[in-house]
């Protein structure tokens, strides 16, 4: 049976390897590179958000701080600001969901 639609449409998950697929490839030439990508920018790493260390508490079902009673969600009210690092993706609004 070959499905007519990818089943992930009905149960979207982040892709394997992270929300944004990784590539080490460099840009191709102008004839094959999507036009809009000429306006792509590298986010300013100096403006990135630092996230506090956290552990997941299985009993409370939330993340808790390391060496602090403050819960991580109480310490981070800024949207994630991308810094060009693949390890620091932008907010869900800006990233692929699947």
């Amino acid at each position: 049976m070959i499905p007519v639609a990818h089943p992930r449409e009905a149960f979207p998950l982040s892709p394997e390897g992270g929300r944004i697929p990784h590539s080490s490839e460099q840009p191709s030439g102008p004839d094959t590179r999507p036009w809009v990508l000429r306006f792509a920018v590298l986010p300013d790493s100096a403006r990135a958000t630092a996230l506090p260390p956290a552990l997941y508490d299985e009993d409370r079902q939330i993340s808790v701080g390391v060496d602090t009673d403050l819960l991580p969600y109480m310490q981070t009210h800024s949207p994630t600001i991308p810094d060009g690092s693949p390890a620091n993706p932008p907010p869900l609004d800006e990233g692929p969901k699947d």
Binding site: R8, A10, P34, S63, P89
Partner: protein, 321 residues
Amino acid sequence: MPTVLVIAARDDWPTDRVVKTLDERGATVFRMDAAEFPEEAGLAARIDDSHGWAGGVVTSHRELDLADVSACYFRTPHPFRFAEGMSDAERRFAAAQARAGFGGILTALDCRWVSHPSAMSRAEYKPYQLAAARECGLTLPPTLITNRPDAVQAFAGDIPGTIICKPVASPVFIEGDQLKAVYTRVLTEDDLGDLTGMETTAHLFQAWVDKAYEVRLTMAGDRPFAAEVHSDTKAGYTDWRSDYKSLTYKPTAPPPDVIERVRALMHRLELRFGALDFVVSPAGEWTFLEVNPCGQWDWIQHATGHPIAEGIADELLGVTE
């Protein structure tokens, strides 16, 4: 006992706020990430002529009876995680089976969803959103989606003012080991003079809408939480996502007709949560840009005091105003 099932990444901290709110209200919460299946979570469910799906999910910390699930909060879980040592072919096969089996059982749950995953997936498509928004009476910027340079030139000629370009899908990607982003671009004559590469894929163009400010309107069920978004930089004014640090926020109340149309849009898209973006003109006219079915909201709650987590909890618990 009625249970709220939360399917979300463990490191999605805004979800923590929802879980804590539910907990403080005495609700039973079963939180898991899809990444826990199958290695850390077991599933068994049966269906026959006399009963719908019955069974549950078991983890090392708790058990879920599917019959107890009264509501489900779905927020971009991580992918399934399989045993080390599987071949790529086995992993792909297992992932498809897990998605259809585990995901299929959960999406068949007849309960309150915030929001149902298939509705969220469908609503991710901007063209679908725009068509639905138009049918619901919201004002849109004239929009073109094309891979034809001549169509771009014709559109630019038809629009009396400036046009912009932005990605029709995700604006972020990783290339050369670096994360890059494409934000809204106000197009110049030079930009339009060289459309090489236009044919390679779909591109989205819109008329630029004069703005006094933008609004992030977060809908939790039928409840609106609106925030004006102001920027004092050119980049932030053009696309506020490109310059978060320049932004200031202010609670606002959308016009009643906009709220009515947004509720109709949410109903049409079958979404019980959405983060919508509007441009508000100097004359006070609201123009719809997009709706994010899985949008960020925590920073808006912090900046404005809007009780969005509480609104999401209300929706999950069936509390109406």
